[in-house]
Symmetry: C2
Subunit: 252 residues, 2 copies
Amino acid sequence: MRRLKVTLEYDGANFAGFQKQSGAGIRTVQGILEETLARLTGEETPVIGAGRTDSGVHALGQVVHFETGSSIPAERFCRALNGKLPPDIAALDAEPVDASFHARYSALGKKYRYLVFNSRKPLVLWRNHCCRFPESLEMAAVKETAAILAGEHDFRAFSAAGSGVKSTVRRLFSLDAEQQEEWISITAVANGFLYKMMRLLVGTLLAAGSGKLSPDQVKQILERGERGRGGATAPPQGLYLVQVFYSKGEFS
Amino acid sequence: MRRLKVTLEYDGANFAGFQKQSGAGIRTVQGILEETLARLTGEETPVIGAGRTDSGVHALGQVVHFETGSSIPAERFCRALNGKLPPDIAALDAEPVDASFHARYSALGKKYRYLVFNSRKPLVLWRNHCCRFPESLEMAAVKETAAILAGEHDFRAFSAAGSGVKSTVRRLFSLDAEQQEEWISITAVANGFLYKMMRLLVGTLLAAGSGKLSPDQVKQILERGERGRGGATAPPQGLYLVQVFYSKGEFS
């Protein structure tokens, strides 16, 4: 047996999230991967993911690990797996790792990106891959608010209740917003993200950019840990798990 | 009764093309529009489109016209229609036109764009919205070949047989290819496009860029009108009908 680390891209539109769920016919990333590995290798092997993306959330670089006794060399594993995976998920890279590697616990950080279509026009072609925000945005206010949120803080106010984590302190290495015509991309790199944290941060930046919250109000919400006082939770279809970092050198 | 000109965006992925087809359960743009107009206005009115996009082809600015006795003002027609249309199609604009306007016959030209993902990486998130071309491309050869194809020519070699048009001469005002990282967009403006012409032009540019055809060979194919000698017909999912022009001033 050996352990493989596999990097995945998937289109979240037709998945009920990453995590396998009981109940027939619920299509999850983990479920599809385990089924496909069973068809490829004949083995029933649990797949462990770096992060549990929600229903509708996409990944450009989700990382998983699993054990396999298969003789397929790591460099051919991607192609073999992709030959059997459905078209909305693909393995981008596979490499052997030692038994101490864990997709979730070995991760030092993650990068998420959120894509906003800032327009009053209907959103048709990209409706499953971004979120439309029709109100006009003041990018200076978005950036000022992002600068307040970046850094090491107790992000309790920007987490959904009930995730049961011990600490809600996270280090947000960077939170950047870029505008190109009607498109705004918001990118965050952190040592970890609380449940729904990225979507709550995005909702808060959009509230600040559209004048519903001032940067000072956001600062207060952050400092006081006031759940439910920030912006709305941005919808899942605009969110992408871009990269999972396993060494300090990867952060940039 | 009055005539309305409506500009549409649609995602071609789940449509069997623009043109209504006989047979139950075949989902077409024209069919969905006529059904939706019937529900909105109570009228059975034929919808005439500027171009018959193939199955899988998208539109950012398809134009249609139809007659209606509805009292909904033109400026509110889009919103009313969009309230009843499925999420993969939307009206972007509606304006009253006089009875001499015809979406197809009044058109002076069209702009199409084709999106290529030039990479050996799997294509997952954008699989329905571009075409993957894994071979390396020499952009200089693509541009040199595009310059040969631009202009007024008999494009017989770049048309699918059986469309029954009288003349295969068209004026290709421009044919441009732009590269940005792994993405190549090919944009064409012409006074008209023969059946599958854009996809045949794109296939030929890709063949030239990957060294399978020389610019001189393409010139010969064009001059001799040799069907089937150019590149392969590029697949439909990378193609977008961007704009239909009805006045000379719109060309740019």
